[in-house]
Amino acid sequence: MHYMVAHDSALLAQMRRGAIEYCVLALVKNEERYGFELVRQLSEADGLVTSEGTVYPLLTRLRQEGLVETTWRESNQGPPRRYYRITKDGRRALDTFIGQWERFRDAVDDLLASGGTR
């Protein structure tokens, strides 16, 4: 039983790692968002974020890779905020991921449902 719990969380961590950066890109695809807003939305999705702080290293990496860009904007509450939005490269990466994800998901769903008997 203990093994299963540990195994489940490791499995989830692996799946999360592959998908989360594209979830971030999807969140900033149509509108820009600031860091806190992004992290809050991600952590509301079940199982996607274990600790909120670990999303920020991901954000800085996406920015370094040029998949998102940032702008400072004044805020009426507190200090100015750093807003993130997707770049052309980011959009391309997201589109590629969506295509691959759909194929992967369908293939796994099919196999899980039919047990490979079809």
Partner: protein, 215 residues
């Protein structure tokens, strides 16, 4: 709970975070601490009554500083294999040549300086404002101080001390300007090369630096 206690709890957390991030490169480390400090502030604003327990829970949800640092280093590891080392060296060479030609290219029939400008503008390692600076201060680089010196050598008879001082000032500006800009470009380039070396070769950042309206 006094607001002093809360402040010191938060400050303590941020200090631990900064310390845990010591293996992360400077600008990124600073950025992470800033962003997380802002995150803490935003979460605190959501709490109606701040108790030590509430604040502890809040910080717990953000995560242990060590875990955040581990995530930052893990992110680096995920990318480094995607960058070939020749890529970094190549981009470093391009920039070094640009700086050298901006300074001394004027002596190569001016064309050298123009090539320096092209290299400057075609490099992803500088921001637009650095490129403008490199182009405007001063066209021709260190060519003008040379001319001025040669000219002064010819007209050494001038006894008007005002003229001499004027010429000396001009000479100093014309010499120091390009050198300061070259040093600035070199340092700006260094930072960017370091950042690029985190990034993947095929997805190099496209100069979309945080163009900030606020410093």
């Amino acid at each position: 709970m006094s607001s002093n206690d809360s402040e010191s709890m938060v400050n303590d957390y941020l200090r631990r975070l900064d310390l845990a991030l010591s293996a992360v490169a400077g600008p990124r480390r600073q950025r992470l601490v800033e962003e997380i400090a802002q995150h803490v502030a935003e979460r605190r604003r959501e709490i109606s009554e701040e108790s030590p327990t509430a604040l502890l829970q809040l910080l717990d949800r953000i995560g242990r500083p060590e875990d955040i640092a581990a995530a930052a280093l893990e992110q680096d590891d995920e990318q480094s294999p995607r960058l070939s080392s020749s890529e970094t060296e190549k981009s470093g060479l391009h920039e070094a040549l640009a700086i050298a030609l901006l300074l001394f290219g004027g002596y190569l029939l001016i064309i050298g300086w123009l090539i320096g400008v092209v290299l400057l503008w075609s490099s992803p390692a500088w921001r637009t404002r650095d490129k403008v600076l490199g182009t405007l201060i001063f066209p021709g680089g260190l060519l003008w101080p040379f001319y001025l010196l040669a000219f002064a050598a010819l007209v050494t008879t001038s006894e008007d001390s005002l003229q001499v001082w004027g010429a000396l000032t001009l000479l100093t500006i014309l010499t120091i300007g390009p050198i300061l800009v070259a040093v600035h470009l070199y340092r700006a380039r260094n930072i960017r090369v370091r950042i690029v070396s985190f990034g993947s070769s095929e997805r190099r950042r496209s100069g979309s630096d945080g163009t900030s309206a606020v410093p």
